[in-house]
Symmetry: C2
Subunit: 273 residues, 2 copies
């Protein structure tokens, strides 16, 4: 079986009820530790692999306590409450700290839910942008591996080429998808929600050190509509609302090419200034 590099990266081996082991993937390496989107997807995958799972992901919050060290890690997923139409999950990722102890490197929670077809409407319309074919592919100067795992076609707000402190807004728009073809699913969408470079780099045109502290994803589509997107392009939009004393927020949307809003996401990010 020719497993996709993303599925290899989020793969988990069950060791007990709701307990798994996994390992970081060099293919998704970031500056320090792996790309956070893949770590978030791994936490969600522990829920999806759980035999007690009811429903599909509705919301996911991950808190990045520390950078993962390259190598193996443990994941737990625990259903703490099962209702008629929602199920509440608590997860964490731990690693041996080399001193005989176990450190928590990520905490997370998720809600899964049974979706029923009902009155629905999007209030955040997809912005009018040039179609994919009219936007140039982007060769990212960054030397980190995970960037190579995605095709990106920036429409607005690309990574600055000149770091002159001259930024005046924080909004990026781009077409994006996995570089190696992969059918969209909840884990893939989770990672895509974290694919935007740090807003502070754009707003200040200054490449300061950053790190996501907490990220939340709300899923607005079920498994079938996601699979229906196939390997299609998504339009991603991200912007900040506030940069304040070492932390900025990011609010993001991901639409499919047909203009359906698939996910909204938020994160709060440390920056050094």
């Amino acid at each position: 079986m020719n497993t996709h590099v993303f599925d290899q990266a989020i793969a988990l081996t069950p060791t007990a009820d709701g307990q798994y082991t996994g390992a970081t993937s060099p293919a998704y390496a970031n500056m320090v530790g792996p790309f956070g989107g893949v770590t978030a997807a791994t936490a969600l995958n522990a829920v999806l692999q759980h035999p007690g799972l009811l429903g599909e992901p509705l919301s996911l919050t991950v808190n990045f306590c520390a950078a993962l060290a390259d190598g193996p890690f443990g994941v737990t997923a625990r259903p703490v409450r099962t209702n008629r139409s929602t199920q509440h999950w608590v997860m964490d990722i731990t690693q041996a700290n080399g001193e005989g102890g176990i450190d928590t490197v990520l905490t997370a929670s998720a809600v899964t839910a049974a979706r029923r077809t009902t009155w629905s409407v999007d209030d955040e319309a997809m912005p009018t942008v040039p179609p994919v074919a009219e936007v140039s592919p982007y060769t990212v100067p960054a030397p980190v591996a995970w960037i190579q795992r995605y095709e990106m076609r920036p429409i607005e707000g690309p990574i600055p080429h000149i770091w002159d402190g001259g930024g005046d807004h924080s909004r990026s728009r781009m077409w994006v998808r996995d570089a190696e073809p992969r059918v969209l699913d909840f884990c893939g969408l989770t990672a895509l929600a974290d694919v935007f470079f740090p807003r502070v780099w754009l707003r200040r045109a200054t490449p300061v050190p950053v790190g996501t502290v907490s990220m939340t994803v709300y899923f607005h589509a079920g498994a079938a509509p996601l699979a229906g997107c196939g390997h299609g392009w998504l339009l991603g939009q991200a912007r900040a609302q506030a940069f304040r004393n070492g932390f900025f927020d990011q609010t993001a949307q991901l639409w499919n090419e047909g203009g359906h809003l698939l996910a909204t996401s938020h994160q709060i990010v440390y920056y050094k200034a």
Copy 2:
């Protein structure tokens, strides 16, 4: 001491390390159980009361597993990771279920952080709205107690007076503050982030049953600037991005009268259609 009704509602009695008891307050009663904003603030209060606390709240996520029953509840707050400038917390609220068992009614996580004065800028400017004095006070028709705890002056998107299914947008703007004077703090701001009526009522002009499933608050100001707001009015703005198959999202901002963005917040909400 004349304790504010809000501080009575979120009050906790320590019973062990990181364990507390509290009780629902009739003053903040909602249709079923208490106002979620007060429950969220109570979970945060467990962190703020913890002797091991370092820093100030940066982010808070609460997952509402079930409506609280009127009466006592237990709260736990546990620091799972303490870094140089951030501390990660996991909390829950439990209640006896009347069958000899203990049910989880809320799970939560928070990050506290040391803020350092640095380069800062708001990217989401406060919208231009009429000053408080020019906006009429609002007498809410709702029969629930918690609404009386706030002064609200709706500028745009008030609760529909005619439920005719004729809504065409989901955005509300209002001036808001505690009805009984109270100096702003993290717990008060948390509750204010949940003060907006359900977006689906506005978008559809139809009063369907709803319930918040998960809510996140990012704090963009420290304790001193919050206290500096005193009992001043905040401008609250909320709107939905998607209503899809039984769940909608809400994205909200809270500015002080001076136009500083104090908090951004997001929630995902169940609706029956």
